[in-house]
């Protein structure tokens, strides 16, 4: 998980931003790259198989585009925040994809158990005339 790393980096940045002007913010290249990696990870986790996950995935991709556009315009501070938003949207898409898969697997296991219980019920009931 890369959340702790980003969180650890965020607080000094927030503090620093209180003191520094927007123009002094470096280009958020790493932040955008991180968001792109998160998008790839979400896709690999099956985000496209879940309607809700694919919605966040789409949002992440759009915001990456917005962040790149802001970088071209020189609005690095805003680009950095948008890239952060893209990153967490992609992470949420990945979590939702995992939840979707876990729920399907749990449902499958419970269905198997229910089938066994029905079978046991029939066996206990015995043949009927």
């Amino acid at each position: 998980m890369k959340f702790p790393v980003r969180s650890a980096n965020l607080s000094p940045w927030v503090l620093g931003s209180l003191l520094l002007a927007c123009a002094s913010t470096p280009p958020p290249t790493h932040r955008v790259a991180s968001a792109q990696e998160s998008v790839a990870a979400a896709r690999q986790a099956g985000a496209n198989d879940s309607a809700l996950a694919s919605l966040y995935l789409q949002s992440a991709q759009e915001q990456i585009g917005v962040a790149q556009g802001l970088m071209k315009k020189g609005d690095m501070e805003h680009a950095d925040l948008v890239a952060q938003r893209a990153d967490v949207d992609a992470d949420l898409a990945r979590s939702l994809a995992r939840e979707h898969a876990a729920r399907a697997q749990a449902d499958q296991a419970v269905d198997a158990l229910r089938a066994i219980e029905r079978q046991q019920g029939l066996q206990n009931q015995g043949p009927t005339n």
């Binding site: 959340f3 927030v14 917005v66 805003h78 949207d89 939840e99 697997q105």
Partner: protein, 301 residues
């Protein structure tokens, strides 16, 4: 959590930039982030996804600091957006953990059932094996009993033949194994006077020994004892046939009187049709005058 609305609102906020709000009213994004964090806490994220919840808490604090320092500006809203998503992630990961636990519990029960079925099948298989082994042992015992009975019967028959041989040889007769059975040949002279079919006095004593030996066959009624009378060729064929039949019947009746089953002993006369030797000599004619006891089904030695 209205995730769809949040996604759309996030894009809209980015697209249209900052709209200022008064510092006394926290932005909606921050309110949503606080609510999402509480939602994650209520969903036991501290138990199922503690790392993600810690990230969400840190992000929320960052957003709160930004709001305290700068009020409702775009940066505060973006940081609140990030905090809300991280709280959502903690919440979703907690649900994922719960689903995994639900799957594990169900699978444990399925596996326990499968093991139970396997053990039950193994038990039934073991029981079948034991039954098979028991049946095999019983079969061996039965086979041993059959073999024992067969041996006992064989020994009994051998004893009978030995007894017959001792008796018959002493009387000048013989015991031979032939395809039709064990044939005991008795000279006619030791049983009958010439031309007679009533047993002589000495004949009864001799036949007593034979009857005693043949009594071993009483428990095998399917094995017949056929008494055959034979004469030499002296006289007419018709009279020889009658004489041989009567002599055979005399012997049969005596054996029955000595305890042999009536239905097991038969009598037939062959007259002079089956001579053993030539009737040209007195010795040959004496050999042809005889009574034969054919014991069916005795296993040859």
């Amino acid at each position: 959590m209205n995730r769809c609305k949040m996604v759309v609102s996030g894009v809209v906020v980015v697209a249209f930039g900052a709209f200022g709000c008064t510092a006394s009213h926290p932005p909606q994004q921050l309110l949503d982030a606080r609510a999402s964090y509480q939602h994650a806490m209520a969903n036991q994220a501290q138990d199922y996804s503690p790392a993600a919840l810690a990230n969400a808490q840190a992000a929320l604090q960052t957003a709160e600091h930004a709001y305290s320092a700068n009020g409702d500006e775009q940066r505060t809203r973006d940081l609140a957006y990030v905090a809300e998503r991280k709280a959502d992630i903690a919440n979703v990961d907690a649900t994922t953990g719960k689903e995994a636990r639900r799957e594990r519990i169900a699978m444990d029960q399925v596996l326990a059932w499968q093991q139970s079925v396997a053990q039950s099948r193994q038990g039934a298989l073991e029981q079948a094996r034991q039954q098979l082994a028991t049946t095999g042992q019983q079969l061996q015992v039965s086979q041993a009993q059959v073999e024992s009975e067969r041996q006992a019967r064989l020994e009994s028959e051998n004893r009978m033949r030995d007894a017959l041989k001792k008796l018959v040889v002493a009387y000048g007769g013989s015991v031979t194994e032939q395809p039709r059975g064990t044939v005991v040949t008795l000279p006619g002279a030791i049983l009958f006077a010439s031309g007679q079919y009533q047993l002589s006095t000495g004949a009864r004593t001799r036949l007593d020994g034979l009857a005693q030996a043949l009594s071993a066959l009483k428990d095998q009624p399917e094995r017949r004892i056929i008494v055959e009378g034979h004469t030499d060729s002296t006289g007419s064929d018709a009279s020889n046939m009658v004489l041989s039949q009567n002599r055979a019947e005399s012997v049969r009746q005596y054996l029955i009187s000595r305890g042999l089953p009536e239905g097991q002993v038969l009598a037939s006369g062959a007259g002079s049709t089956e001579p053993l030797k030539s009737d040209a000599t007195a010795q040959g004619r004496a050999a042809n005058r005889r009574v034969e006891l054919v014991i069916e089904g005795v296993t040859p030695r």
